[in-house]
Subunit: 205 residues, 2 copies
Amino acid sequence: MINHELSRSQNIQWQNIEVSSESRACIKNQKACCIWLTGLSGSGKSTIANLLEKKLHALGKHSYILDGDNVRHGLNQDLGFTESDRVENIRRVSEVASLMIDAGLIVIVSFISPFESDRALARQRIGGNRFYETYIQTSLDECEKRDPKGLYKKARSGDIKNFTGIDSPYEAPSNASLVINTMDESPEMAVDTIFGLLRTNGNIS
Amino acid sequence: MINHELSRSQNIQWQNIEVSSESRACIKNQKACCIWLTGLSGSGKSTIANLLEKKLHALGKHSYILDGDNVRHGLNQDLGFTESDRVENIRRVSEVASLMIDAGLIVIVSFISPFESDRALARQRIGGNRFYETYIQTSLDECEKRDPKGLYKKARSGDIKNFTGIDSPYEAPSNASLVINTMDESPEMAVDTIFGLLRTNGNIS
């Protein structure tokens, strides 16, 4: 707990809420969790997230995608790309993912999240037993060839600074729940792999 | 959009997400919205929020309570009670409520939210047609008599400063969707009234 001028967290009491995460998830026949997709820009995170949600939805499962770009337009619109803002970006997303898991949802987070330490914080906040770190492993060459948003071109020409993979590092997960290589696997195969994980862990039946 | 050092919001593109808010809500047979409970500490917001959620849950409806105290332990733990922090507190809660509405949920916000301007911002962010401002109208005398957390006693003795109703104002809503007087209505009657509103607006059938 950060101590803040005028803060009176000692006077903030935890409100007991009577309908539990489990009972909320139960009416949907699912066990809530977070599938955290990490990988370079252009690696295929959004494509996989969308296809995963469509397939879950078709089964009547209730999921939600927290997408890096979209969250930066709303909740995190006050944050830039400094070191401290980057940490705060991930902290807030982890808190929102936690609230949504508490609401019973299968939360799909699609964030480049290039730093191991940030992802470790997310894991800690969300809880290791419901956090599936999923590395969308696509080579920089391939991502740069795809360049769906034209961002690599801008980064190479110097129009964007601190771009992950170009002049800012991407730290590959050392201990991911899943590694998906999109040069070998189609998005459909990737989603099948994630479904296998969710079934094995009882998140969906 | 706030311009921030190192921000490159101009390079953040909106990701199209294919499963819509409507289709998410549809599998639950509900129309997502926000019931924003405002009122003094001790006015009965949490009691009503809990009973409302229990009754929605019993019908298989999917809701979630965002409670002022609980959110201050997590997402907003870095915020105190200064003017700017107070605005940021409501801004973030409004953004999270928006995301949860997008996820198809009936979101119950239980926040003192004493200032009309803050609630107006929340209404604007969430969208007037899915924002039901609900004023839990309980007299200060009655709240102070109940004093469920012993906070009025601390505020009267000066142990807590800027306490709403004592040395910080509460601005009653001028244009609430509902006004619930807990001195005349039991929590059960209050929840029935809210159910009436949700049915009239087609949020639940």
